[in-house]
């Protein structure tokens, strides 16, 4: 006799320990198998794009900090590049080097957070998360030296950065970089050979590269499927042309590959920072206020600038009408767009893999909802 069953709908979130913020999914389960998923956004929507329309170009830097709050330096960088493109500003070399160092440090921090929380979603009770967060803490200490703030840095300004790194920053950075390499070794020793991690993440949520590109998904998720697409390499902004680094690729395109690509990219970031330290030259960190005034009035027009953020292509689209505030600001948020294939990844999978897959996308609700 067949047992009569029916799928059950469960609301996961917005108050759930592993939704990485306030995210809600209405999931239909058939036993442990996922039949249907409907993501529901907007619990952290703060209207950043509307707020930007009544702030000056410099003030908006603080808004971008609060979008993806685990990679605020990268948000700053994307926004500043868009402003520079819009206003035709030639940045100061030392400022550019400094902001490259800052944003690569931020990329490491973001990848550490992603790895830590992936393991947290796998059910390791906090230990790998705390190991990762401890190292991120060191990076935040470096930020504190360089700009006085830890999370919401607001370090970058049109044309460079707002202050030069103090003298004690450079030895601290040197120590920090070797610490980061040690931590990454430790994490990899703990994770990459762990049979449970391997069996949980291998072969889950596999996506084909064609589908990923069609769904506009970029960043580590795309590189984990073997597509060699990194904006730092394909469309070098700032001084990435002068930097040599490897693009780490993986062919499996599953959760493990995404984790692997992130850890390897963090290692590459360390190399990038070392090259930046070698090439940085003394000079002003931003153009004088005669060239780039505090109250920018870019000519009427529009500009789109994108960087390789920690989660994918992070773009800012700015429209100016010649005034002191942008007429329209749009953020191409990689976190939101990377969720496009969430249904494809989850349906047919197990409940246990739901949050692992979700975590492997590496999203930040502050950026999804803005």
């Amino acid at each position: 006799m067949a047992i009569k069953t029916q799928p059950v709908t469960v609301n996961l979130g917005p108050q759930h320990p592993s939704t990485h913020g306030v995210f809600r999914m209405r999931v239909m389960f058939d036993g442990e198998e996922i039949v249907d998923v409907e993501p529901i956004f907007g619990y952290l929507h703060r209207g950043s794009e509307k707020l930007a329309e009544e702030r000056t170009y410099t003030q908006i830097v603080t808004l971008t900090d609060r979008m993806d709050y685990v990679s605020s330096m990268l948000n700053n960088q994307a926004y500043i590049l868009a402003v520079e493109k819009l206003a035709g500003i030639e940045p100061s070399p030392r400022g550019v080097w400094l902001r490259m160092i800052a944003s690569e440090l931020q990329r490491i921090a973001s990848h550490l957070v992603a790895t830590g929380f992936l393991l947290q979603d796998l059910g390791a009770l906090g230990t790998p998360l705390i190991y990762a967060m401890r190292e991120r803490e060191n990076i935040l200490d470096l930020f504190e030296i360089i700009c006085g703030a830890r999370i919401t840095n607001s370090y970058l300004r049109p044309g460079g950065v707002f202050m030069d790194a103090p003298q004690e920053f450079w030895p601290a950075l040197d120590r920090g970089l070797s610490d980061i390499v040690n931590t990454l070794d430790e994490l990899e020793e703990y994770l990459s050979g762990n049979e449970i991690v391997f069996s949980r993440t291998k072969g889950t949520a596999v996506l084909s590269p064609e589908l990923l590109i069609n769904a506009s998904i970029t960043g580590p998720m795309l590189r984990a499927s073997g597509v060699d697409w990194d904006l730092r390499h394909r469309n070098p902004y700032d001084y990435y042309e002068k930097i040599k680094f490897e693009r780490k690729l993986h062919t499996a395109s599953d959760n493990y590959a995404r984790y692997w690509v992130r850890v390897q990219e963090a290692r590459e970031s360390v190399k990038i920072i070392r090259q930046c330290i070698d090439q940085i030259e003394p000079g002003p960190v931003r153009p004088s206020f005669d060239d780039v005034p505090r109250l920018l009035r870019p000519p009427a027009g529009d500009a789109y600038a994108a960087i390789e953020g920690s989660k994918g292509e992070l773009g800012f689209y700015l429209v100016s009408d010649g005034g002191i505030a942008p007429y329209r600001m749009h953020v191409r948020s990689s976190s939101l767009i990377n969720l496009t294939l969430l249904r494809d990844m989850l349906i047919g999978g197990q409940f246990g893999d739901l949050f692992v897959t979700f975590g492997s996308v590496d999203l930040n609700m502050g950026e999804v909802d803005r």
Partner: protein, 436 residues
């Protein structure tokens, strides 16, 4: 078998101390009891209350210490300090927690089945306590030496799942139901390898009584029965739903599973039961595999038991802190395809060895160990090859045949149509005026 051990129970000691020279006490030299003659019924009642008080309070006190110890250890494993504010080394933290839990508001969901909802926390604490009825804590310190002690433990521990199911069903919460289903699946799967793992131990000891199993351990059975220990330890971890098998609570998936709707002291009782189960599991492992209270003189037997118990608890906490969680299908596959085979191998090998040496002496036990260890290592290796996940052959894609063709460094052929992106300043387009 040492007859004095069997007579020498905690029960008998207290009873004889009170009642004095009654029929069963003569062997223990109790000339006169504290109570006058003819008051045996009072001695009986006081003894019963004393034992209940001793065991329950002992276990609850143990839970308080265990919670503190576990949190301190968590802190150490995670390179932080752990609780250190209340009392010396934060020892009063769990006391403060207990008081806080009691003073919280008791919330009952509207849709809940009130009777079952209130009954479940009481039910869940019972089996964990009942296990202590048959555990020998030291020489002469046990409540009852049942001749079916092992069966009793197997029967009683599986009751936990019933109360989990009751709690989940009565709170009318879908996440809780999912958690309870997992709990039942775990019970059904892991009860079998757990029981079969014990068959080897029972064959060696020739008895189901825990007291006699301890007596039979000339050397700890972990040395003689490594395979049985391996399977039993893992199955016991799964039975009490500890990481890496904490699927019923699964904080990152089910929030708190069946505990979702419980608050205040009802939650506290679940919490207590969980830690009591941890202690009872450690006590069972100590008794069955680590030769219980046996040790070297002059250190008292109770100390040996406690030391081994704490060692097992440490290993359980270590596991919990280190390993990520398995998925439900992997957990069940592991039980049926891995542990089940291992126990069968163990039973066959042990049966052959028992056939050779029917009443093993200590020297023969060592010889059994010499046979069993290679068998254990080979069979575990074979099963891990069978169930393990293969590594990736290569991580990086082939540069000759990329998965998706991406532009090379050279400028594409249509370059005559294309301007360079750095040439932005020449763009005079303004969306408002530009265009048609």
């Amino acid at each position: 078998m040492d007859q004095s051990f069997l007579d020498n129970s905690l029960w008998r000691n207290i009873y004889c101390l009170l009642a004095g020279d009654s029929a069963g006490c003569s062997a223990r030299d109790y000339a006169s009891g504290l109570l006058p003659g003819g008051m045996e019924w009072l001695a009986f009642a006081i003894t019963a209350l004393a034992i209940i008080g001793l065991v329950i309070n002992g276990v609850l006190g143990g839970v308080i210490v265990l919670i503190w110890g576990e949190r301190r250890l968590f802190g150490r494993f995670q390179s932080r300090t752990g609780p250190n504010r209340w009392g010396p080394f934060g020892m009063l933290t769990s006391v403060a927690d207990a008081i806080k839990t009691m003073f919280k508001e008791d919330v009952v969901p509207v849709d809940a089945d009130r009777i079952l909802f209130n009954l479940a926390p009481i039910l869940i604490a019972t089996p964990a306590l009942l296990v202590f009825a048959v555990i020998p804590f030291g020489i002469g310190t046990y409540v009852a030496d049942l001749n079916v002690g092992v069966l009793f433990i197997m029967a009683v521990t599986s009751l936990t799942t019933l109360s989990v199911l009751t709690a989940a069903w009565s709170s009318a919460n879908r996440i809780a139901i999912l958690s309870a289903l997992r709990s039942v699946a775990l019970l059904i799967s892991y009860e079998i390898p757990m029981a079969l793992a014990l068959v080897g131990v029972i064959m060696l000891a020739g008895s189901l009584s825990l007291g006699q199993i301890v007596q039979a351990q000339g050397i700890p059975f972990i040395l003689v029965q490594p395979l049985a220990f391996f399977v039993f330890f893992i199955a016991a971890m799964a039975e009490m739903a500890r990481a890496p098998f904490d699927l019923t609570e699964a904080e990152s998936e089910l929030a708190a599973g069946y505990l979702n709707d419980y608050a205040s002291m009802k939650f506290g009782l679940f919490f207590l039961a969980e830690f009591m189960a941890e202690i009872s599991t450690a006590a069972i492992v100590t008794t069955l595999f680590l030769s219980g209270w046996k040790g070297w003189e002059p250190i008292p037997s109770h100390f040996w038991f406690m030391a081994k118990l704490i060692l097992v608890l440490f290993v359980i906490i270590w596991f919990r802190m280190t390993l990520p969680r398995l998925r439900i299908d992997q957990v069940l596959k592991f039980a049926w395809k891995g542990l089940f085979e291992l126990t069968l191998i163990n039973i066959v090998v042990t049966a052959i060895l028992i056939g050779i040496w029917p009443q093993p002496t200590t020297a023969q036990l060592w010889m059994m160990a010499a046979v069993n260890w290679p068998v254990a290592i080979i069979s575990i290796w074979l099963v891990s090859r069978l169930l393990g996940t293969a590594k990736y052959e290569k991580a990086s894609p082939d540069s000759d045949s990329p998965v998706y063709s991406v532009a090379t460094e050279s400028i594409p052929k249509t370059s005559e149509y294309i301007t360079n992106s750095t040439d932005v300043s020449s763009v005079e387009a303004v969306s408002k005026e530009g265009g048609a």
